[in-house]
Structure formats: C-alpha cells, structure tokens
Symmetry: C2
C-alpha cells in the first residue's frame, strides 16, 4: 500500500521546540497532536448542550471548501461566527433530539456537514454547562457551494474574502502553529470521513450523520422514498449495522507504521525514496499495518518487503495523527540483525531506491537539508547533499532520535 | 464507544511463556500476534503464484462457518486440503488475471470468500516460487452454507464431522496455541471485513473482492444489470474510489487504547468494571482512539472521560491484534498527576465502577484470580477476591508490567 507522504513545509515562522519538548516525561508530541480542545465526547448526543454551544458568543467555526480550510494566511486559521454561518445551517439544527431527527430522516435533503470539535477551556468567557464543562466551543463546517446551500455559501465566501481571508489552496500551503494544526487535523479527518461515506457499506443505502459528526448511521426509514411515490413505504430493508454496534458507523483511522532503521552496529540509517520525490530527497520507510499484526510485526514485514532487510529489535517511539485522509502514524525505531542488511528492492515495487546512510550524514542533513517537499532546502544546503523531510514530519523526529542516541543506552543486538 | 472485551479463556493447556518471553529485546509479544506466516503481500495480485499456492500438496485451508473456525478441539485448529474445498471453490479461481475477473464482474454471482494468508517457511516441503519465496501456503475460506454453495458446503461439513472435527461454537470456545491463534486472527479479521463490506460506502453499489481477499473494489461495470434487462448498460456511474487510491478499498483496523493507570505515588492501580461482567471482576480501562489524536492523548481523554482521573506521563507498552472484529489494541501505562486522582464516573456512563486497588492486591489477583470471562477462577481463588482477565489479554500483561516495576526505573512525576 502507498507510503504516507511527509509534505508539510518547514515551520520557519514559529517555534516548534515548545511543542516538541518532552512534556509529560519522555513523550514526544508530534505535529497535528497537542490539541487544546476537550472533546467531551459523551456530550455529542446531548442536543441541549450542542444547541447552546452552537450559538454561544465564544463559539468559533472552522469553515472548509472541498476540504480546504479558511485561513488568514498559511500560518493562521480564520474562524467564522454563528451569525456568519446561520444562513447556511439555519437557526438551530439541534433544536430537535437525535431520535426525532432520525425519525424524520430524508436522504434527498442535503444537510451541510457540521462537526463539534470540543471546548477550549483556556477561554474564560466560554460556555458553562452543568457547572462542570467549560470553554469556548469549536465546530468545523463544510460550506462547499452545492445545492441547496450554493447561493448562501457563495454569498458568505464573497463576504469573507472582502475581509481578507480565503480558503487554502491544498495542504502544501498550510504551516500552522501546532495547536491550530491539531484543530485543523481533527476537522479535516472528520469532514473527509463523512464525505467519503455517504452510503452504508453493509446494505448500500444512504447514511445519516449523527453524534455531532462522529457517527453515521443507516436509518431504518427514509422519507425520500414516499416523496417520489406516495404509496411507497419509507421502511428500509434490515441492515446489520442496526442490530448491534458496528465499527462501520464510527470514524475510520488507519494505523500506519513508519520506522527509522539502523544497522546492526548502529552506525548507519536506512532511507528510501519514491520516484516522484525531488532529487536527493530520502525518508524513512512506512506502510499500513495489516489485520492481525502487532506494531513490531508490521514494521518487520514492511521493511523486509520494501528493502529486503531483516529486523530484530523494534521499539515504538511516538505517534502522529495524519489527516490525509485518516492515518495514525506509529513511529518506531528498528535495528537490522547481523547478516540481514543486504538491500533487495525486488519484492515490492514501491521504492525507487533504498540506501544505508552513515549516521553523520543524516545528522548533517537534519541540520541543513530539511524542507517541505515542494520547498527548497535552506541556505546552507549544497546541491547533491541528502535532503530530508521537515520537523513537522514524524520521519524527521525518528531520525533525530536515532542520531541523538535513542538506541544508545540499550545493548546492541 | 464500547470497551473491547478480554474474554479469552486462560490457556492452561499450553505454555505462554515462550511466546511472551522478551524476544527481540524488550518487546512483549501478545496473544494473536506472533504469526509464523510470511504474508508476501506483493504476491497477492500475482495469479500464477496464487494458482500454484491453491493446489500445492503442502497447502492448508482454514474453514469458517459464520466466522467460527474448524477445530479439532478448543486447543487445536483443523485444516482442510484443496481436494476438500474444490467442490466449493472450483478448479482454479486464479486461472484468469485479476484484470479479466474485474471485466467479467457480475454482482449476482456469489463467490465464497477466499483469503491468502501467507507462506509458512518452516515447512521444507512447501512451494518454491521464483527461487525466493518458499513455504507451505495457508488460505482462509468461508464455507457458510448459502446458495449456490449450500449443498456442496453441507456435504463437506458432514464429511468433516465424520472425521471428528467441527466448527467452534463462538470465541469462548477457543484456546489455541499462540501461532495458531495468530493464523486464526488474520483469517477472522479478513473474512469479517469482507463480509461486513459488500457495498461501496462511496456510491452504494456492490463491491468485489480482489488481491486474494485483501482489497474490495467498486468495479466500473456489472454484468448483473444486463442479465435482468438486456438493454441495460453494464456501466456503473462514476465512483470516487475508482479515481484514486481510497482507504475504503482496504481492510479496516481500529486503533484502540487500553491502559493500566497507576497513582501518582505508584502504589495503586486503577481498574474499572462493566455491569455485565461477573462479580468481583475488574480490568484496565480501554476505548477507541479518535481521529487526530496521538496515542497518549487518546489514553488521557479516555481515562478522564471514564473515570475523571487526570494523567500525566503515558508510556506505550505493547500492542495486540484483536480480531473481534478489527482492533489493534495499543497497550499503555499511565500515571495520575498529584491531585488528579479523584474518581468521577459521571462524565461517561460506560463503567459501572472504577476503583483504586493497592498494587499488592493486584499482584495477588494476577496469581490466583485470573480466568476467562465465562470461566471460574483457579482453585486458590477465594470468593470476594479481585478477579482479573487471563494472560492472553493485554490488560493482564499491562498490570503484570506495573506490578513487575515497569515504571519503577523512571523518576516519579
């Protein structure tokens, strides 16, 4: 399966050190994690709460057009207010209970996707609910102009553009501070999942978004059928997702392994490259974890399949949410067994090249050769030298851990 | 979301120590991992290879009826030969290329689900392919009796039963040696995923199994439509899954966090229980990782939502595949922050109870109070004492790590 792509730009505009510092002991917090929001997931079915959250003066809406977020600049998200979005979502979509909305389900009605992201309790003027849950509510909303919201969405977009904000042009143009990146990642992952799953994989009928954007169900009745044919029953055939809890109803997150591989003597690092990458650009190997694999097994399988190298010890390093579209990157560091270091690219056709690099060369490239995929490397970089992904990519963090001596305190194999 | 259930029985019949030994350094290999098979995933589209594998004398088929595997006894899988299954799957379903099979796709034809699991290279009489890929092939096959294979499946099942093998009666009745458990886990996860996804979540049309059971695609043509109406075009409307790589086409694995929580002073362990569990039975907390969370964030959120406790340090311990239906259990150990240890069950209604247990009480219960959920505890257990899940459950391994001093070598928060 395809390798996830580390293609975020180098964040020159803000300091990553505070985020990447080892808060909570030895934990490494990667880019896209570190959200300031309390998700209060158990309140997602509580429509009186959601109704208050929707209209509270402290509430922010992150708007998306075809999965691109509204931004002030590539380093700052833009947020809208309830008044901005009211012409699109109506006065209060949470005025009825979830149960009642399911009874009235009509698949022919387009409802713009809204997701409740959580509460930011750093805001002292936020909502207070049941004396206990406090903070400024955040929502994500898809306002891609399509019928019947086309006209209202276009009006809003024009009005926003006069204020100097606009939708990002793809992910290459975002380089957000870590906490905004985490809010964007949650939004994008959920909006993409909802957009990608309009039908039930179990029975083929249209699905309906509930739980404030965190669940899609296959309703037992659909009033659309009786609209076109008044004698038709709104009842649908039985569906397996209705008779028990099905994972199909919940957001999908794909566990992915990504690993820095060191030689048996600890002096070299294995890196690979894909054909479409810029010249001299390499990164760590990666791939999807398969059914019934532990993380260590997935790491060994992927490394052998892509490079022919046999790994012994594998240690999990850190994890990174990756919302393109739905990955959990599980970062590991693995060590080749003596005699298992010969590179063979013939198993799987995924990599154009894989090579052992001396640790010192990787250390230098981490200092002068990193950048986003579409960017140029820094001023100290010399043509022909190794190029590597930026610090926002977990691949960079894994290589940094190796050159920083991550495995050094442990006995060699 | 619901908590995964540790309900495998205690494996009295075989020794887990060899599997759970820290092979490859500090790695803990949990039950359901440790497969002896090389998946050679890049050969799943290679029909000449699959055709040889299907009919090789060393080949084994693990048969399933409604997701229950064929067994000799609760401690031993039973395998069938190609001759056994030929009346059900035909002479060679891989005689045509995948491309040709997609062209001939007809959604009205039922094809029993077959999954290529991998090669067991411990078998010296196994298949040899391209001089490099060696071993005895393993397949999983769903022979649930339904038209048009009903009669052939029933004949095979009768014939197998006269040989003294039968289908397990649910998962409570399986207690396999670790390597067989891993083969079963891969089979069950893949067969369940295929059975659960007969329709395309993107467009609602029937899907087709390819890549030897590891991919489901939405074919552009379906000959079924022209069978019922000869003037109907077999062409289907466009589908987003056809215009790029979509994760919807690949098996789903749900990352799940499960965590042993220790008090700030390291002297107590937090355990919770669900209402439906036997009296005195407790386990570690668990829940699904959500979109755009790191593992540590998911652990902290779940623990706070379910118990009100605030965690500081979180360390990943090990992982466990869990094929009911599709989880990757990511095991962690977390430590409460001073002042964040008060239990509050009012956020989320998931647990009936959560309690701090002295480490010594947990240590004793790990020795005398473990069993499968449906079993009785061992002879030394005294009524009223703490009961815990068996060693096959990662929850047990996490608690064992804590009482064994996993966090001890580190500074306290």
């Amino acid at each position: 399966m395809p390798e996830p792509m580390p293609d975020l730009p180098e964040p020159a505009h803000h300091e990553l050190d505070s985020m990447l510092s080892r808060k909570f002991g030895k934990e490494v917090a990667n880019y896209f994690s570190g959200s300031p929001l309390n998700r209060v997931s158990f309140l997602r079915t509580d429509h009186p709460f959601l109704s208050l959250a929707l209209k509270h003066p402290s509430t922010s809406f992150l708007l998306f057009n075809n999965l691109n977020p509204l931004i002030v600049s590539s380093t700052k998200l833009a947020f809208a207010s309830f008044k901005d979005v009211e012409p699109i979502i109506g006065e209060d979509i949470y005025s009825k209970s979830e149960e009642d909305l399911i009874k009235e389900y009509n698949s022919s009605k387009y409802i713009p996707q809204l997701v409740f992201l959580g509460l930011d309790d750093r805001n002292q003027d936020g909502l207070v609910y049941k004396d206990y849950y406090k903070g400024a509510p955040y929502f994500a909303l898809d306002i891609t102009p399509k019928d019947p919201i086309k006209s209202a969405a276009e009006t809003l977009i024009s009005s926003l553009e006069t204020k100097g904000v606009s939708f990002s042009k793809g992910r290459m143009h975002i380089s957000l501070p870590p906490q905004e990146a985490a809010i964007y990642a949650e939004s994008r992952h959920l909006l993409d999942w909802n957009a990608r799953n309009p039908f039930c994989a179990s029975c083929g009928h249209p699905t309906f978004s509930v739980n404030a954007g965190f669940k899609r169900i296959c309703p037992p009745r659909d009033l659309a059928s009786s609209m076109t044919n008044s004698s038709a029953s709104p009842d649908r055939p039985p569906c397996a997702t209705r008779t028990g809890i099905s994972n199909l109803s919940f957001p999908r997150t794909d566990p992915t392994v990504i690993m820095a591989v060191v030689s048996a003597d600890g002096q070299k690092i294995l890196l690979g490259r894909q054909k479409r990458w810029p010249e001299y650009w390499y990164s760590t190997l990666a791939g999807f974890l398969e059914p019934a694999e532990s993380v260590e097994e997935a790491v060994r399988r992927e490394v052998w399949e892509e490079s022919g190298i046999h790994l012994g010890r594998v240690v999990i390093h850190s994890t990174q949410p990756w919302p393109y579209p739905a990955n959990l990157m599980i970062g590991a560091i693995g060590q080749a067994i003596p005699g298992g270091e010969e590179i063979h690219l013939g198993h799987d056709a995924e990599l154009e090249d894989a090579k052992w690099f001396p640790t010192d060369e990787v250390r230098e490239a981490l200092q002068i050769g990193t950048s986003g995929l579409g960017e140029t490397a820094g001023p100290q970089y010399k043509e022909g030298g190794l190029r590597l992904p930026p610090r926002t990519a977990i691949a960079n963090q894994l290589m940094s851990a190796v050159v920083g001596g991550f495995l050094g305190a442990e006995p060699k194999i």
